[in-house]
Every structure is written in C-alpha cells, then in structure tokens.
Amino acid sequence: MVETGKTTQEFEIRDYLRTELMPHFMCPGCGHGIALRALLWAIHDLGIAKDNLAVVSGIGCSGRTAAYIDANTIHTTHGRPLSFATGLKLARPDLHVVVITGDGDSLAIGGNHLIHACRRNLDITCVLLNNEVYGMTGGQVSPTTSAGRYTTTTPAGNHEPVFDACELATAAGASFVGREITMHVTALRDLFVQGLKHSGFSFIEVISDCTEIYGRKNELGNSPEMVMSHKADIRPESYGNVVDEPFRPTDLNVGVLSQTDRPEYYTAYRQHFGKQVEGNDDPKKGGAVT
C-alpha cells in the first residue's frame, strides 16, 4: 500500500490571498475563483515565492482576480496584459510572470498581443479564463460565445463563428498549449504546474462559467450545473465511442494540447548577442522553483 499523488506540504490558499480584500467581488458560482485556487495551488506546489511572482491581468472579471493574489500584481488595460508582461519579463527574467486574461480581453481587443506573445515564446504563463461572455460590462457577445447563445448584444442568438483559443495559440506558435475545465481543479493545477515549468510561452485556457449573467440568460442552469456541463462538453475521445454512439459530440479537448521545444525568447535574445543569461541559461532557475 502506497500513499501517492499528494504534495508534501499542505496547500493553504489563505497563504496566497490578500485576505483583507475577501470576500472577492466575483458573482456566486463564478468559475474564476476555482481557477484562481488551481493557479495558486500550482504556484505552491512549485515552491514559487510570492515575492518572485508577478501576476498581470487585463480588464474584465478575469482581470479583477489578480488583485486577490498576494504577489506583485498588475491590473492593466483592456486586452494588453501580455504587453505589460512582456516588458516585465524582459526587464526581470528572474520573476515568474503569469498573465490572467479573459476571452474578450485576449481574443478580441488583445488578439494581436496574444498571437505575438505566442510567436515570441517569451517565458510567460498566460491563463485565459474563458466564460464565453463579457461579464463585467453586463453580458455582451464575445469571440467565444457559442453559436445561438443569447447575450445583451445578440438578442436573436449569436450568429458569429467562434475562436478556438487553443488552436489559435498553437498556430501562433505558443510552445505550450493546454486547456482544462474548472471542475477538474486538480488537473487544472497540474496543467498550471506544467505550464509554469515550461520554458517558453505557455497558454492555458480554462473553461470557466458565468452563471449570473450568461448562464441565467441562456438557461444553462445554476453553478453546479454549469460546472458539470463543462465536464460533459470536453474531450470527446476520452468518452470514446460511448458504446457505439457518442452521447454529445463536441471537439473540445482538455489537457496538454501541444508542447514544443522552441527556444525561449529571452535566452535566445541574450545568446544572439553573445551573452549568457545571468546565472543560467534557464530563466526558471533564477526563480525559486525546486
């Protein structure tokens, strides 16, 4: 008999929160909170010191999450957190830079920054909290709003095609691309761990839920139901050919979707000018990863 799969030191989320700001301002059942836990858990598991962690966020409900993290947090402008993060990481390769963004933030207004961040492959971990809607502004259509869904700007249901953020990131050159749902909180944590450890640009999409605005408008049920339906939406091959007839055909995959061994931007930049990166080639080693 063996005890497996447990971290040696207990993760206590309060150690990573600005508890004086709690309760946080997200709506009841908002999946962003679960994603935030998974992220902080991963940071704990990697032994990243809070002082060496910088979290950069954009605008929207996703952007607001950063403030609750007891780290160096930067709540930037709409769609631009990746630009700030790029500067920050290049200025401070010793910091672990995590970007938290939303579907509107990173795919609409910030789409340009996303694809170029993917292309450069700077060692940043970008977390996209995808809830298919502009929640903060009251529920307008976003680039990931599912077909037919109602929002305050699609009164007859959404007629626009959607982005697959992960395919976009992969195509743009992100060297680590993954996706998870909030219900898989431990898997999400593990994905974050992998993404954070990855040297290069890691892009992780979290299928989150907006119960209060999007869920209500589209009668998707309350929070537990939305969380559970994400579960049913994902990874068709995981459910196989459910005894000869798939119960719900989708093409949403989870887990690590692609990982390549491209040169990390900063290391390559220094090497290009004939210099070694301070301390070590691996910028990760500048941090406190053990």
Partner: protein, 609 residues
C-alpha cells in the same frame, strides 16, 4: 419416483422421452401438450421462462405473446377461450392482483374452452415486493387450483388443468413457486394433442356478466366448488404414503420433498390442491393416524380448511407463515412439534457472510438517472424494476416503491396532499409504464398536478431478463412489430412538457430534469438508453483510472458500479479506485463524475487492470 404420473394414457410406451426441465419449462410443455392455442403473459420473476419456452414451440401451433400487463394477458386468454380454443396465461403472484379484476368475473362465466393460468409464487421474496399466497386468491374467486411438487408434476398437472377447466367449466390456476420454477429435474414428456376448436358459444346469459346473469351464476360457482372437490377425491392425484401412524403429515407442493427428506417414514398425504379440498381423502387420512400435522408454505390454507371440516390439526403453531421452506425449516418444525428428536447440532463451518446485495449493472443507464435525481433533492416515487436497486446505498435515490405503476399515482397523491416541499418525481421503467403507468399519467394530467415523470426507457423488460414489450418493436418470438413511441404517447395524454435525453449524458439529464421540475404541471422526461445486458450484451472500450490523478474522493463510487473497486493505493487516508476492465462496458459515467479527470478511456494495449 415412486408414483405413477397422472394422465398416463398420454404416454405410449414406445415414445417415452426424458428431458431435464425446469419447472417453468415443464408448465409450458404441459400446456403445449394439452393443445393450447393462445398463450399470453407479462414477464415476472419467477414466472418469466414459462412464456419464453412456450415461444420455442411452433407459431402455427401456439400463439404466444407478451401482454402489456397481467390483466391483459388474462383477458387475451379469456378471449381465446370464448373463441373455442384452449388458452393459457402466466404470471407471478403479484400479477394476479392486476389480473384479478378479469379473473374474478371470468370465474362466474367459466371456461368454454380450457382456460389455465399459471401463477408462480415467491416465498422468501427472492425477487418481488411481497410474498402473498395465491391459494387465497383461488379461494376468493372459487377457482380450482393445482399445486405440482416437481417438474414432472408441473407438466402433468398443467395438462390436467385443461381437462378440469373444460369438464367443470372453470378457469384453473396452476401454482408454482420459485423453488419449483427454477429447479431442473428429469421429466418424461409426451406429444401434443391437437384439440378441435369448439367455436363460440352463443350464450349471453353465460357470457355477459350483467347483474341478472351474475346472480344466476354465483350459485353455480358454489356448486362447482364441491363438484371439483369430489373430483379431487376420486382421481389419483392426492398421494397417500402409509407409514408410521402416530403422526400423519398433510402437505402440498414442493414442501413434500422436504418432508420426505426429513421424515421418510411418516404417513404422508400429499395433496394436489389446497382448493377445493379433497375432503373425503383427507378425512380418511386423518382417521388413520393419531395426530395430524399440516406442513404448508406461507398461509394456513389447508390447515384452516381442515379446521372448518372439524378435524383437529396443527400446523402454523410449529411452521412459519413467512419465508421459503427448506429441509431445515421442516426439520425445526417437526422438532418443535415433538415429532422427531432434536439432533445434536452439527459443528457447522461458520463464516460471517459477505454482504453482496444485487446492484445495477456496470453501464446500467438507470444509474445516471438516479445520480441526476440525487443531485436535485427531489422526492422520488419509485416503481418496480431493476431501478428499485437505486433505493439502497450509495445511490439512495428512491423514497417509495409500492407496485407496478404506482409511482405516478403516488406522486399525484402526494401533490394533492400539498404538504411536500421537495419536487415530486415519479420514476418508472418503460415496460412498467406500459404495464400500469398510463392510467395514472392520464390522471395526473386530468387532475392538474405539478409532478415530473421520469420514464427510464431501456428498451426492454430488464429485471426479468430482457423481454420485449410494446415499445421495443419486437414480439415474444423476436419478430418485428409496431412500436409504441413514448413521446407521442405521452403528448397524446395532454402532457405539454416532454423531453427525451440520452441517459449517458449526465449533465444534460440533470439539467433536463431540473427544467422539468421547474415546469408547472406534468412534465415527462424520457431517459433513453438500451439496457446493457438485453437484448444484446453491450461492451464498449473500457475506461481506466490514472492512479496518479485519483484523489480518492469516491465520487465515482456513488455510481455503485460493479466495475469500480478500491485499490491498495491511498490518497490522504482514502482508498483510490480502479476499474475492472472486463466488467467495464465503457458507458463513461464515472469519467463524467470524476472531478479530477482521472478516468480516461483505456488506451488500447495499455490495460493492466
């Protein structure tokens, strides 16, 4: 065996064939040999195999069919009897409750052509909701009864039942029990006797039960009772074994074999029937012994009959009124009656037994329906079927279960009571819904109640082993036929809210039931997936658990899936889970509930379970 079978004249010496038959097969064989033309039944353990084996005989000889319920089965048989051909129906004991409406009137009409009903009781409640004694029904309806003790008698008595039916113009019940129905023993079989059609008997006074006719029929019934009793005295069916005269045992049916096992030397009168009693034979027997003991399973039917006759007898003072008899039970009774001495208890090898209650199969589509209901905090009115197993832990998702079709009526009543704060959901299987669910659904619509009905459509009658019904599109003989469509049927009753969901889609199922519950009025959700065992065994690619991802939360164990068991790996003091690949049929439900994504489709070639 020491006795000659009844109806010996049917067996020409040169054609004796001996087959190992179950009691149920023997009953079917008996009916077929008797020239039965129409046979109908609703499946129910332990009676199901009777009609199934009837379907093995050529269709041109016997029209064998599944009926929507037992009353329909009996009505079909009655109709055939009216038409002048020998007719047969089969059911389990609780089926008689459903059939009794027709039966209690038909007994006034009688039987133009032979009309025999086989009923299988379930002492010990192996697979039923009660252990009622059908013999009391026979007394209630003045219906003659035959009670075979083994498979040979099952065949012989069934044949004879048709003769009695026609001779005395009465329906006849052949009563079996679980032990007889499912015991296989060698049976000498005979050939089929084709019986000419008697044609319809144009006799409204006999065939139309209006009060004036019924009043005339009732005295005939009483008279018939004594005539049949006299007949039972005359024929050589009651078996009298002369032995020790200090004690005489009167017994019937399978119990006889236990008595012989325990007390081989006693004087025994083995009756062929508990109703009507062969009074003369019984009197003679009782006079020949010093003390009379009646050994009968369940109710004291014979014992009370004897007491009415004024015979001093004992029975239920020593033998239980509940449960199935066995050699041990008979021995204990005889010991307490002082008939045999108590044996020094043998040093038995005792081990505390493992609890292995029946569970829903791996991949059973009912599981997800009850997982969904579990989350809704609904008051769940259950019904009869495999899904009743969802009442026990860990699903614990059923609050009541009364009888076939009761769920919907129960829900209507609870709604009308107006006191239940939780949403009311009636769950009913496809076969059960057709059997007895439609009238209460109509009642629910008619009386405007706010309930949800969840029809668990697994396209078979699963509990009894996978029989077809009106909504499977196949007959008893496996031929294509018309198919009832539940959504259309339900809409036709006036239900405004009907949705069909794939049972394996847990999230949608949950969501749909929630919406149904929120609907004001009668809402029907059809949870639609075929049974994994019948009519074909479904086996998909198995799932496996990534042990490193399992956090031993036991969420999947709430499915109570037989393929999920603990491993020796521990996470935070809890046991991790693994999937037994041969048992897993790949339904994906466990993967759907796993909060850590630890359950994945087994990669081909990677299985090490």
């Amino acid at each position: 065996m020491g006795r000659e079978p009844a109806g010996e004249e049917y067996y020409p010496d040169d054609e004796v064939e001996v087959l190992p038959l179950m009691g149920n097969e023997a009953i079917a064989r008996g009916a077929w040999e008797a020239g039965v033309k129409v046979a109908s039944a609703y499946p129910g353990t332990p009676s199901t195999e009777i009609l199934e084996s009837m379907a093995n005989f050529p269709a041109k000889e016997v029209e064998a069919q599944w009926a929507t319920n037992e009353k329909v089965a009996v009505d079909v048989a009655i109709g055939a009897s009216f038409a002048g051909v020998r007719a047969f129906a089969a059911m389990k004991h609780v089926g008689v409750n459903v059939a009794s409406d027709a039966l209690m009137s038909q007994t006034y009409i009688g039987a133009h052509a032979g009309l025999v009903i086989a009923v299988c009781d379930d002492p010990g409640i192996h697979s039923s909701q009660n252990e009622q004694d059908t013999r009391l029904f026979c007394r209630l309806g003045n219906i003659p009864l035959l009670e075979p003790a083994d498979a040979q008698e099952a065949l012989d008595y069934t044949r004879l039942a048709f003769e009695i039916s026609e001779t005395f113009d009465t329906p006849v019940i052949v009563r079996s029990s679980t032990r007889l129905s499912h015991t296989r023993s060698p049976v000498r079989v005979g050939n089929r006797t084709e019986i000419d059609c008697r044609g319809f008997n144009e006799n409204p006074q006999k065939n139309v039960m209006i009060p004036s006719h019924a009043r005339l029929s009732h005295p005939k019934l009483i008279e018939r009772e004594s005539r049949v009793g006299e007949y039972f005295d005359q024929i050589d069916l009651n078996h009298w074994e002369r032995g020790d005269q200090k004690v005489g045992i009167i017994t019937v049916g399978t119990v006889y074999s236990y008595v012989k096992e325990v007390l081989p030397t006693a004087s025994i009168l083995k009756l062929a029937s508990s109703y009507p009693l062969a009074r003369e034979t019984i009197s003679d027997f009782c006079n020949s012994v010093d003390r009379v003991l009646v050994v009968e399973e369940l109710e004291p039917v014979i014992e009370e009959g004897l007491k009415v006759m004024g015979i001093a007898t004992e029975g239920k003072a020593f033998f239980p009124r509940v449960g199935e008899f066995s050699p041990e039970v008979v021995r204990q009774g005889l010991e307490s009656a002082g008939v045999i001495e108590s044996l020094a208890p043998k040093p038995l090898l005792e081990v505390e037994p493992l609890a292995r209650p029946p569970v829903l199969c791996a991949g059973c589509p009912h599981t997800s329906s009850y997982m969904a209901l579990r989350g809704l905090n609904a008051r769940v009115l259950g019904d009869i079927g495999c899904y009743t197993l969802a009442a026990i832990e860990p699903l614990e998702a059923i609050d009541t279960c009364v009888a076939m079709g009761s769920s919907i009526g129960n829900a209507v009543g609870m709604a009308k009571a107006g006191t239940e704060t939780r949403p009311l959901v009636a769950t009913i299987g496809d076969s059960t819904f057709l059997h007895a669910g439609l009238p209460p659904l109509i009642d629910a619509v008619y009386n405007e109640v706010d309930i949800t009905v969840l029809i668990l459509d697994n396209s078979t009658t699963a509990m009894t082993g996978g029989q077809d019904h009106a909504a499977t599109g196949k007959t008893l003989r496996g031929e294509q036929t018309n198919r009832v469509k539940f959504d259309e049927l339900v809409r036709a009753t006036g239900v405004k809210w009907v949705k069909t969901v794939d049972s394996y889609d847990l999230a949608t199922l949950y969501q749909t039931i929630r919406e149904a519950v929120e609907f004001k009025g009668v809402a029907v959700v059809i949870s639609d997936r075929p049974c994994v065992l019948d009519p074909v065994k479904i086996k998909g690619q198995p799932f496996e658990i990534k042990a490193e991802l399992c956090v031993a939360c036991q969420s999947c164990m709430n499915l109570s899936c037989p393929a999920l068991v603990w491993t020796d790996e521990i996470f935070d003091g809890h046991r991790k889970v693994k999937i037994d690949a041969p048992t897993c049929m790949g339904c994906s439900l466990c993967a759907q509930v796993c909060p850590t994504d630890a359950i994945r489709l087994q990669q081909r070639g990677s299985g090490n379970q």
